[in-house]
Amino acid sequence: MGRGAYIRRRLFLTVFVLFGVTILIFGMVHFLPGDPAATLLGDRATTQNIAELREQLGLNKPLPEQYWMFVSGLVRGQMGTSMQFHQPVRDMVVSRLPISIGLALYAILLAAFLTFTFGLLAAVNKDTWIDQLVRVSFLFVLTMPNFWLGILLILVLSLGLHWFPVAGFGTTFTDHIWYLFLPALTIALALSAVLIRNLRSSVISTTRSDYVRTARAKGLLERIVLMRHILRNAVLSTVTIFGLQFGFLIGGALVVEIVFAIPGLGQLLFTSITSRDYPVVQAITVITALMVILVNLIVDLSYSFLDPRVTYG
């Protein structure tokens, strides 16, 4: 199968998954125990209140009609009205989305730096104390909850050493880079803990291949062998793992936003849950799923650029 045919097939699959995502999110409100109207009104609601709200929310219409309204709304970018703020959900989400995406990209950049630095350091110094130190440190990071890691960084780097602001977002671009450094580092550490393990073992196994021996026998500098021959081949599986981990990155980022009081989607999501504002929760769930689908599509399509030998079968 050529690249074009693969991309078409992959896009078809993506459309199918998108359809499934809408069914699942729609189904969640309708098939899980708990009436959204009753949940929304709280314990003191009368049956009449609940019935009125159900009518108002369109919950009494036939399911296919409700689903059609939900999906056609999504496609037109209308995701309903927030029950808590009485504002269109779209406006609330659109103003916060760039902040969350910016934070995620910042975290990915830092994670790439950490992964290449420590992954290569551990692999090149395999079985020495450097390797052991890197592995043990990141095993600990791997088991730390994101939010606790964030708080520890605040405790040491902000409150202790006064190097970074404790929380907030700033006003100018330079401010943002400055304010978002610790949150991005928190997310990046957690993400790179997985990636470093993978890159290390991938580099070690690539080092054993014949073409690396040939490259060394030709008398190439070790630095060139490492960068051009080993790393280029080893990085492929790490990119795959990155795609698989992206969902965790998003989940972690949403929580880290709370820890550092960043006005992104995470804060909106968690305040909406406490106030049972389910149109907002649905919208954010759809958006995060879209991001995961998009990133995995990019990861799948990037293989042939990273490694020209990859064919799609």
Binding site: G20, G34, T143, F147, I151, I258, I284, T288, A289, V292
Partner: protein
Amino acid sequence: MGENVLNPALPHSAPLLRLSFGMRLQKIGLNPTLLAGLVILSVVVLMAIAAPLLTPYDPIAQKLDEAFKPPLSPNHPLGTDNFGRDMWSRILYSARLDLQIGLLSVVFPFVFGIFVGISAGYLGGHVDTVLMRVLDVMMAFPFLVLVVAIMSVMGPGLFSMYVAFGLVGWIPYARITRGETLTTRNLEYIHAARTIGATTPRVMVRHVLPNVIGPGLVYVFTGMVLAILVGATLSYLGLGPQPPTPEWGAMIAAGRQFLLQAPWMTALPGLALLIFGVALSLIGDGLADRR
């Protein structure tokens, strides 16, 4: 028998080779990673069980005149929190809850995921196609976001949390087991079982299941770490067990506003969570190395 055939001059009881500690461990199926994990986990479990014997304090009894005692204070080895509650007893008692979260959160996903994985892998065809497409859809959601979305419909609390984990957590087990089943289904002993007339359910349960369950079992420990971390995250966000129930994530959240005044309120429960998580990760890694 029993005589040393290679060298009759050696008495048969003399060991030919002194086994190192590591080799002896391997003989009984343990490796250092697995052993370390098991030891730490056993200590955590024993401490959780023996909590009432290890501390004289009630974990939820408030004593405001004893608030904010730092660690190593007399009578309070790990200090007290903003309500004067003993940190050591709160950490011990929340180990019980977090162990329960870890265990209950993996039981249903494990059983259901293995069932789905074997069905998809063994039956193939439409069953496989449908189940795999369902997996594709579920995997498009970030785990935490899907759990949180389910809890937003069902309301906060432990029960909703278990339901959410149950609905979402089976995916990795199904994927892992399906992969194993695909390689196992064409092996000779499966053909043999079918040839002698074993029914499909019987082949799946008696012949496929025991041979494909291993990697899923290893993943249980990773799944437990994930469940405990996400559980702690949910209670950090106020969606898990409600106060004053001691739970590590909720304790970290409570300490957040006293970070300067009482950093131990945040640091210590996180450390407990970390030790517990490392133990489970070590067991998972150790089991994976054995295979």
